[in-house]
């Protein structure tokens, strides 16, 4: 074992030589122990346990960490992968990468001359400067830099025949890295561009089943990361996702009814999934695909969890959700409704019944109170945001039961739940005014920008920088809420400005209904029977990095682990937990995830990357989604956003710049 791999303290990888973003590193003249340890390379110490990273190649350059690493072989392997990844549409990437890889393979096996190296450099430069998308534009950079700055090293290594070095390559893009589920966004957009909508769906369905739902309500981390924002506006990724999901609606039977998993699993390996929300559905879906027997237990009488009860009909029609969830039954899973954990079932009873693993995706449904005087959950006209949405969706929209509303409604909070409450309240009969009270400024509201704009357009009255300090009750009824004005202070440690109340600024806002929507927590009553589960200090379930709880075989994910978060995060945890459960049941240990590790390495080099769009790019503006006009939509719960046409989808898909980057790590084993 080379000396530098002996772990001394918190060993950090040391760059022996390399080039990254035009900065050349060359420490070859020094002894390895003389090279300073740098914090920024700390992520490169080892790939998995006891497996050091010997070299790393990416879209901005390369690093070699070990003397014994063969640069030419690494570059050849990296370019082989690049050539395989080329989509083939543009000439330099399609043909150039293939010629380069053949030339490199020859150099490695049979040696070559100076002019061979010049020719490779010319081809690499051509691929780099003239390729159409991010993949080709960046793929040859390590090769170009190596030929420019470390040519003599490559010459030494020519003709030494291939020293096959273990290599792990990873292809990603900023949007993919930003997505909790790591959906291959450019790929599904590409399939839309190619007119292959089923394939586009296929890409997303590799991760999770609730595509139409995600295409409607996702918070779109991907669009925030989209490099197109540097040119004009982010690609309408969510809109495109909804487009394919709608276009391919009703295909679930065709796609999955004859599904047979690659490997047949022991029928005794039964899994119970508690909670049919986004996390549970994703976990069950992935487990069913892997061939396990899965039974789901849901407290309510409908599936979907927060997606069903917490998202109003006008953003996510129930019919869409229902159709999407039917995939569980199509794949042979069962969903048992009206089963409450802690009442009808317990983890222990399920284990006794023969379930070998349990996934908890029970959400985080208890509303947080405002903790102000005269607040009482039993007060008429007082309702937590989550409860309000639940009653509205289940009782009013689904079953047509009457729902008592006040004339003037005050919603407290600035998140999406608050927006949903406010916009839903507006649509209810008898409601004259809806006020939204938020303690910080409007810019700081965590809700989606579009949601805030829509609430404005529909007539919600905003009161930013105000905070409730007392509920005004007369004769046991709410008649108003006392608010205090707030002011913004310094930027605190978490990067947010502090807020404090302004003295003597209190005023009373008359109202007869208050909906606090400032957060939720896990209801601990659920675990009265299974009292051995550990909780975090935030009142959520404690899990390890594989999402296993403190009890063996019991896994958890979604809001009950993270606290109230987003649909996509819940679905990601469901998928991850399914992977862990599969490993746990089939191998007895949970495997190392190389892709996840590569994602960490990519995040590690992120601060060292300048990824700006530096060339002039034509402005192509984002598709404008048609909406019902605000006057109409105040009245009804029909879906506000209209679908886009096929032509619009082609056009929008064409805006994606495919910011793919290929990363390769050469490891010891």
């Amino acid at each position: 074992m080379p000396i530098e791999n002996i772990t001394v303290g918190g060993c950090m990888a040391k760059v022996l030589y390399g080039v990254w973003d035009k900065t050349v590193f060359d420490n070859r003249h020094r002894q390895i122990f003389e090279i300073e340890e740098e914090e920024r390379f700390s992520c490169f110490d080892e790939f998995d346990k006891g497996n050091p990273i010997r070299a790393f190649f990416g879209g901005h350059g390369f690093f070699v960490f070990e003397k014994s690493a063969n640069l030419l072989s690494g570059l050849t392997q990296h370019m082989q992968r690049v050539a395989e990844e080329s989509c083939g549409k543009c000439t330099p990437c399609r043909v150039g990468t293939q010629i380069i890889r053949r030339k490199l393979e020859r150099l490695l096996e049979q040696s070559g001359t100076e002019s061979d190296l010049d020719e490779i450099a010319e081809l690499a430069e051509q691929v780099h400067t003239t390729s159409l998308c991010g993949l080709g534009q960046t793929a040859a950079i390590p090769l170009i830099e190596a030929l420019t700055h470390f040519k003599e090293k490559i010459k030494e290594e020519m003709g030494q025949s291939a020293v096959k070095q273990p290599i792990y390559s990873y292809v990603s893009a900023p949007c993919i890295e930003a997505c909790p589920s790591k959906v291959d966004v450019p790929k599904y957009i590409d399939f839309i561009r190619d007119g292959k909508f089923t394939h586009s769906m296929g890409v997303i369905l590799q991760k999770y089943p609730m595509v139409a739902t995600c295409g409607r309500v996702c918070v779109r981390f991907c669009e925030q990361a989209c490099r197109r924002t540097q040119v004009d506006e982010a690609v309408g990724i969510k809109t495109l996702k909804r487009f394919v999901a709608d276009h391919e609606r009703g295909m679930i039977q065709d796609w999955f009814s004859a599904y047979t998993p690659a490997e047949k699993k022991d029928p005794a390996l039964k899994v119970a999934v508690i909670g049919a929300g986004p996390a549970g559905i994703s976990a069950a879906y992935q487990l069913l695909l892997k061939g396990y027997h899965v039974d789901m237990f849901e407290e309510k009488s409908v599936p979907g969890g927060m997606a069903a009860t917490g998202i109003p009909e006008y953003r996510l029609p129930k019919q869409i959700l229902k159709q999407e969830v039917s995939i569980i039954e199509t794949l042979g899973g069962n969903i048992f409704y009206d089963k409450t954990l802690g009442k009808d079932i317990s983890i222990s009873s399920l284990m006794q019944e023969g379930y070998k693993a349990v996934f908890l995706g029970i959400g985080c449904h208890k509303g947080k109170s405002l903790s102000i005087p005269y607040e009482d959950a039993a007060l008429e006209g007082y309702d937590y945001g989550v409860n309000f949405l639940l009653r509205l969706n289940r009782d009013y929209v689904d079953q047509g039961l009457p729902m008592a509303m006040g004339e003037t409604v005050v919603v407290v909070g600035g998140g999406n739940v608050a927006m949903d409450c406010a916009r839903s309240a507006l649509r209810m009969e008898g409601v004259k005014e809806v006020h939204l009270v938020y303690r910080r400024s409007e810019e700081e509201m965590p809700a989606d920008h579009e949601e805030i704009e829509a609430a404005h357009a529909e007539g919600v009255i905003f009161h930013p920088l105000t905070n409730p300090c007392r509920i005004v009750v007369e004769d046991g009824k709410i008649v108003g809420v006392e608010l205090t004005r707030m002011k913004l202070g310094e930027i605190g440690r978490r990067g947010r400005r502090s807020v404090s109340s302004i003295d003597d600024s209190e005023f009373i806002l008359s109202c007869d209904q208050i909906i606090p929507a400032i957060g939720q927590e896990v209801d601990t009553k659920t675990f009265a029977i299974d009292s051995d589960l550990e909780f975090s200090r935030w009142g959520t379930l404690q899990v390890d990095e594989n999402l296993m709880t403190s009890r063996r075989g019991v896994f958890a994910g979604g809001d009950c682990v993270r606290g109230p978060a987003t649909l996509i995060q819940a679905m990601e945890q469901g998928e991850k937990a399914a992977r862990s459960i599969d490993d746990y049941l089939s191998l007895g240990r949970i495997r190392f995830q190389a892709d996840e590790r590569m994602g960490q390495l990519v995040a590690g080099v992120q601060p060292m990357m300048r990824d700006g769009v530096t060339i002039p790019v034509e402005h192509l503006y984002r598709v404008k989604v048609q909406e019902l006009d605000p006057e109409t939509r105040r009245e009804i719960f029909e879906e506000v956003e209209k679908p886009i046409s096929v032509d619009q989808a082609y056009k929008e898909a064409n805006r994606c710049m495919r910011c793919y980057r290929v990363y390769s790590a050469i490891t010891e084993r």
Binding site: S86, C87, G88, P92, G96, Q98, H199, A258, Y259
Partner: protein
């Protein structure tokens, strides 16, 4: 608020305010939003291009040949960028001919050739190939890279009677996809595989013959190379021409005579009918007929059918024309619920075939079994039409083979017949060669309608229509509507459509009950047969010759003494001595047809198959 800023600026830009920049150190003015390529062209600066096709606003940016050196006003750095996709900016300095630019363009074409089946001498586009041109433009003198495995395994599809796909030659310009998707709205082509294997293929990797392709051949007219071409049947034609036992009967469509001259240096749109007749004689053709004659015949049948439908309360309306086989294929494949709306009249090509082997055989006392009817058509779909089950008589095909205009030109060249040096000659067949001006304009979009209006007006009102040139249905718009006043016969709402995208829109309106039309002419190709998929291709332009070809046909009409189908004396004769009357028994049997539902089943894939395909890709 701030998010709106770029949009506002762009809107400002969209009204196109003037800017200044430099191309090769000369100041140029341009409008915001223009690409470097557009600005360069506007200032007569040539930049070699390959995938781009300005006429259809096609800029996929895939060939990467149109490279230029770009320096922005505020930067010192130079970039090599494709001019087709890069917006020209205020103060930008563009150099089109630096050594580096020329070298990079050259290397790009060298790489394109490494991935291209360079069997040039045998290629259908030899000498008329945009890739050959661009290799010359960039000064490529040798190709260093030859890897047959790069292209050998890509598909070659000979399944269709009309179109051959040879993906070993495809350069991935995506023009065909664009035409099929955006112009025709057929969307039959997608790309499959990736990397070197990437190719344009019918959906679900179906053979072209079984795919959603309707054989219009517009894709061929934009293909820069020989990746898409008509199915060449010249050998078959030669067999017929040189077989002494066979009586060869030739017909040629209206639009051929105003386009084939392009291949022999004639003026655009020049009518070379007389020279074609001379050339046919030179080739040894026995009987020379004109499809224009049966165009007149179709008007008699189709016009009568329309009137019958208008009189019948229960008849299906609107009625669509049925001369265009691409359109008929489209209805059969995509809107089979509209089959009854198609006129049952056969196309002029097929009417000629069936009349030749019955009426003409009788008149000329020739055994129809010895006859071979060869059509010269501006159309690829006609090849498929001639092979339809319904179109044979006593086991013989009505039309034995179809050559496109391009094949006809190649046939002449192969036989050493130079159209340009022919003396004008004229028809000598007394039964099926005369035509009216109405028949002649069948090759223009709107021509069938105009011809029908001339005859229907006379039949219903007893008087010839006053404005013989019914200009309401002329023009370039892809949807033209008019109302014909038939006096006591009422008013008939008519429309003329070309391109199938427009047809799709109209059908959807009809199905939604939002149409008051009675009679609709549809031609699949934009402009009609004059720009059919079998017509001479023009490099780097789409439909560049349409205007001249169109006016070529209209001027034939203008010069004809007889301009209405019903006044064609040979038409009077055929009804008198053979057919009886329009829609009569004989007509029904020989001049009408039926249609079949050929709707494509949505191929059902399991998600597992899709996933395998996706994962194979990565």
């Amino acid at each position: 608020m701030y998010a709106l800023l770029p949009r506002l600026l762009s809107n400002y830009g969209a009204i196109g305010y003037s800017m200044k920049g430099y191309i090769n150190n000369k100041e140029v003015s341009f409008e915001s939003g223009q690409t470097i390529l557009e600005v360069a062209r506007a200032h007569n600066k040539f930049i070699p291009t390959l995938c781009e096709l300005a006429d259809i606003n096609h800029r996929p940016g895939t060939c990467r040949v149109c490279l230029v050196d770009v320096k922005r006003e505020s930067e010192s750095e130079h970039h090599i960028l494709p001019s087709c996709m890069t917006p020209m900016e205020e103060g930008m300095a563009v150099l089109t001919r630096t050594t580096e630019v020329r070298e990079k363009q050259r290397l790009q074409v060298e790489m394109l050739l490494a991935d291209h089946n360079q069997d040039c001498a045998t290629c259908i586009r030899h000498g008329n190939c945009e890739l050959q041109d661009v290799a010359q433009f960039v000064g490529l003198q040798q190709t260093r890279y030859s890897f047959p495995e790069f292209y050998q395994n890509r598909s070659r599809d000979f399944s269709s009677p009309s179109i051959v796909r040879d993906m070993t030659k495809c350069i991935r310009c995506f023009r065909c996809v664009n035409i099929c998707r955006k112009l025709q709205g057929v969307d039959a082509l997608v790309c499959r595989e990736d990397g070197l294997a990437i190719e344009i293929s019918p959906r679900d990797n179906m053979p072209l013959a079984e795919s959603g392709c309707i054989s219009c051949g517009q894709c061929i007219t934009v293909c820069p190379v020989g990746a898409l071409a008509e199915k060449d049947e010249i050998e078959q034609a030669l067999d017929y021409l040189y077989d002494p036992e066979i009586v060869t009967v030739v017909q040629f469509a209206p639009a051929v005579r105003v386009a084939v001259g392009e291949e022999f240096g004639f003026k655009l749109g020049e009518n070379v009918e007389g020279k074609m007749i001379a050339a046919f004689r030179e080739l040894g053709v026995d009987v020379i007929l004109d499809t224009n004659f049966t165009a007149d015949l179709v008007i008699m049948e189709e016009g009568s059918e329309l009137l019958a439908r208008l009189k019948d309360k229960d008849a299906v309306l609107p009625m669509f024309t049925s001369c265009c086989p691409g359109w008929v294929n489209f209805v059969e494949k995509y809107y089979p619920q509209m089959l009854d709306n198609l006129s049952t009249a056969r196309s002029p090509q097929q009417c000629l075939g069936s009349m030749a082997k019955t009426y003409l055989a009788q008149k000329m006392d020739i055994d129809p079994a010895r006859m071979r009817v060869i059509s010269i058509m501006p159309c690829t779909a006609k090849k498929g039409e001639a092979g339809r089950d319904d179109f044979n008589h006593e086991g013989m095909r009505d039309v034995d083979m179809v050559l496109t205009t391009r094949e006809f030109a190649r046939l002449l060249k192969r036989e050493g017949v130079d159209l340009a040096s022919m003396e004008d000659d004229s028809f000598d067949n007394p039964w099926m060669s005369d035509y009216s001006g109405a028949g002649a304009i069948f090759g223009n979009s709107g021509g069938v309608m105009e011809a029908a209006v001339r005859t229907v007006h006379k039949v219903v009102t007893g008087n010839e229509i006053e404005d013989i040139e019914y200009t309401q249905v002329r023009g370039e718009s892809s949807y033209r509507k008019a109302t014909v006043d038939l006096g006591e016969g009422g008013k008939v709402n008519i429309a003329v459509i070309h391109t199938l995208k427009e047809a799709r829109k109209l059908i959807e309106q009809i199905e939604a009950g939002r149409s008051d039309l009675h009679f609709i002419e549809v031609m699949a190709c934009p402009g009609g047969c004059v720009c059919g998929g079998g017509q001479p291709v023009t490099k780097h332009s789409y439909q560049g010759n349409r205007g001249m070809r169109t006016s070529g046909l209209f001027s034939i009409d203008k010069k004809r003494k007889v301009r209405q189908s019903h006044n064609n004396p040979m038409i009077a004769e055929i009804y008198k001595s053979f057919l009886g009357e329009p829609l009569g028994d004989k007509s029904h049997h020989l001049l009408h047809t039926k249609y079949t539902n050929r709707q494509l089943k949505r191929t059902s894939h399991s998600m597992l198959e899709i996933w395998q395909e996706i994962d194979d890709k990565s």
